[in-house]
Symmetry: D2
Subunit: 290 residues, 4 copies
Amino acid sequence: MSSPLSSSPPTATLLISCPDQKGLVAKIASFIYSNGGNIIHADQHTDLLAGLFLTRLEWQLTGFNLPRELIAPAFNAIAQPLQANWRLHFSDDLPRIAIWVSRQDHCLYDLLWRQQAGELAAEVALIISNHDRLAPIAEQFGIAYHHLPITPETKAAQESQQLELLRAHRIDLVVLAKYMQVLSAEFVSQFPTVINIHHSFLPAFAGANPYQRAYERGVKIIGATGHYVTQDLDEGPIIEQDVVRVSHRDQVEDLIRKGKDLERVVLARAVRLHLQNRVLVYGNRTVVFA
Amino acid sequence: MSSPLSSSPPTATLLISCPDQKGLVAKIASFIYSNGGNIIHADQHTDLLAGLFLTRLEWQLTGFNLPRELIAPAFNAIAQPLQANWRLHFSDDLPRIAIWVSRQDHCLYDLLWRQQAGELAAEVALIISNHDRLAPIAEQFGIAYHHLPITPETKAAQESQQLELLRAHRIDLVVLAKYMQVLSAEFVSQFPTVINIHHSFLPAFAGANPYQRAYERGVKIIGATGHYVTQDLDEGPIIEQDVVRVSHRDQVEDLIRKGKDLERVVLARAVRLHLQNRVLVYGNRTVVFA
Amino acid sequence: MSSPLSSSPPTATLLISCPDQKGLVAKIASFIYSNGGNIIHADQHTDLLAGLFLTRLEWQLTGFNLPRELIAPAFNAIAQPLQANWRLHFSDDLPRIAIWVSRQDHCLYDLLWRQQAGELAAEVALIISNHDRLAPIAEQFGIAYHHLPITPETKAAQESQQLELLRAHRIDLVVLAKYMQVLSAEFVSQFPTVINIHHSFLPAFAGANPYQRAYERGVKIIGATGHYVTQDLDEGPIIEQDVVRVSHRDQVEDLIRKGKDLERVVLARAVRLHLQNRVLVYGNRTVVFA
Amino acid sequence: MSSPLSSSPPTATLLISCPDQKGLVAKIASFIYSNGGNIIHADQHTDLLAGLFLTRLEWQLTGFNLPRELIAPAFNAIAQPLQANWRLHFSDDLPRIAIWVSRQDHCLYDLLWRQQAGELAAEVALIISNHDRLAPIAEQFGIAYHHLPITPETKAAQESQQLELLRAHRIDLVVLAKYMQVLSAEFVSQFPTVINIHHSFLPAFAGANPYQRAYERGVKIIGATGHYVTQDLDEGPIIEQDVVRVSHRDQVEDLIRKGKDLERVVLARAVRLHLQNRVLVYGNRTVVFA
């Protein structure tokens, strides 16, 4: 299932973080300019407390003098002395996504619709679920669906199975689209690029049953949070959040209904930002070059 | 310092909660109608889980056949068999407010400006502070300012002093407008009508230093919460909340600055809703007949 | 395609508007109470300028003494002397919807997903389009799809055809889910219950190409509007609006993309409010008893 | 009335726009780096349609090798061949503001409070009004207040007077804080740096009485717009907008009240963005490097 996006001319994007020092913008921009690149997006952030410089540069590949395979080694010569962490991405090199679901269909439908509509520059390579319920949707969209039920006893074995699937399909990103199982620390250490949607305004109502607890607390606004998954449940770096007003008239089922609209859009925005290489993680925070 | 509001003709408002049963709307509306009252606002809510009926009725006093002093006893005859809790309020009977502050002036300025502009149907009778810093503002607006410094040792004595002031000035409502001291359970039990502004989106970041903690957690939205004060810090019934977006560019001081705008408006809305008798508390929740 | 909603016990809803006078709440509530009805939702609004009283009452049919077919005649006896306009609706009497589309699929997908998820208490009886492009979606969801292409010459004939379809399928509500044709005044006079989604924050950018014009004007926020259709294009009573922030980084195609998320949710909310009989129109305004 | 802001070390900011071409980021960043500057904020935008490159660079003056008075001439040598428009600003060089008001005090109070609180890096040099009503506030804050009443006959003469005052006080920015007079084209051509707050979500309800018209149209959301003033009323480049929800319960006076909160915060944000040199105008649009 490939995206109809690819009409715009290809670009390269560098995401870089390194200890702050003078001349970083000049050095990095000169590398691109001296090789004939036209920068179409440049954004930077300096975290003065952390002494960290973070930047995103995107330039057109048409007319760039370095062949693609030489860009990384050439940039490495600049990055090494700066002690920089960096990633290079080409816009026509579509990441491969695995969407994980349980029984709720709204985020799955939404992501598949957006991919089809060209909003997500990625291929949806497979769907994994601990239930068989959403298999018909996978079929509708022509995507492989792997049903891997999980019990406390089978969890470890199933995670091995899942990891194997991710490798076999060369998956770059796992999207937990209302996957109601906690990933083990072991799994996360082996496959660290996972985005989750949590159905609350974190850190409020981390953990189970956020809508029930939001109702009981009597809040006047509910939220949803798209974040990277780390070994600490619901503690990973936040990419995007949004909220909606509720009132005393809203019962728990109304919170769930209103929350679904939030979950769809917040997860989609987080995934899109990630796919566009606009998110840099440092510590437990993100810089989002939106 | 009295309000220029009072031009509209006076109304009476009943706020009622009672166990749900058939005929409540009919009975209560008939009481008003049979005495010649014209209802200009009627709203109700039934909490089916709690089996509770809650309503707010406001009617014009002009043309109402019962003299003011007989309305409460007459309604009591209806309310008793329904096991109803109820409050009666006349719109031209202005509540008396004490505003409590510490060192930050934004909420104080805002409330005084609103009172002057006719947005708050109340008299601001006095200002109490544990610092002397904001005394000049009190003077600007011609309101008595009581400086009651607090140390762990003097806290109990000062609270007695505060209670005495509230009684002496016949205060109906205390507004904690960034008063950075925790009220003792003892105080709250003796003066229970207190509205606080908490500078976070509760229940996230309850307690101290919410902006610092929001920054550290890397949230993408911050909030403020106007709530009634109970003996459990930051756990009281929520009246109003609002939020604003932040990004990686916002340092802690930017969160504080953006938060001030939220705090002003959320506190003002909460106080206004209370003064208009639009808030009913049950359990730890509120019904807001906005 | 019927809704899985119907588990909750059936209710009756009255939507009433009439010249304001004393005793209206009492009279109407007494009618329900005296027949043994338990009111679960009552809301009212008095437009003092227009001298108009508007109310919505919903009560449980279980235990109500009047058989369904006698409720309307019985209430009519009360309504006549009050010069009231009123509508009676039973919650298990599902309205029948026709969704009209052109080439964009996002609102169609969204409405069908919501209907399936039980968020819309209605049957989607048919889809009408001036293009054949979305026929596969209709097939996916098992709904009849009528392709009626329109040219200036065929418009009148096609509208007759459309009206016939609406009658043949006993349609209660037409939803224009990005139907990019203007309905004739003739059509609207014959079938007046039509909800449209306009892709701007009306009255800004009424008419064609709102996103292009929003981009050119350099606005910092865009919106969408769900409204009833009247003979004046984009001038009908507004049911719901929402907005989203944009920046200089957003090109017209970004506005379109962000706008789609708004359009989906605003149209869905407007349709849901209508289906729950929460909307009363008077003049060119709506009262929404949400 | 000077700002308590000035504690952070001084910076220089360049705002530049020029025809897009390769190497702009590298050239400009190299200019700063080669002179020993440490960039703490760099943002850019390329409008591909307009073929325009726009950027903002801010660097620390401490350790910068060029003396202040040589920065502009030195940069000019780079800017000329690029056909660039540019502005240079030093953070400790506080702009001088004139606030213009009519009879409403909320924006005036708000701006003065923010200036005092250190949120606005500027001096408020004088207040001009066509009414004498707000003179006491000016006195409270110790700022000169010029009462220049305006009639159709005196308008031209008064505008000359106003221009003279602006020159005499070396004013950099005029803020129309609910100044209810239209500036003549003549005035605007002579003093072009004027920010206005319009009490609607432009382009909806441009012109007079926006709240009344919003009420009549029955919108569900109202807004406010901070924009630069041009010769076409309410048509100038938009800096900032925000909105708030309203309902059928809100009368015109409620819209006005809710709108005041919007006006305060939207105007303050627009002024702050301008003062921080974050706004670039091109055509009728703005780039806001927030």
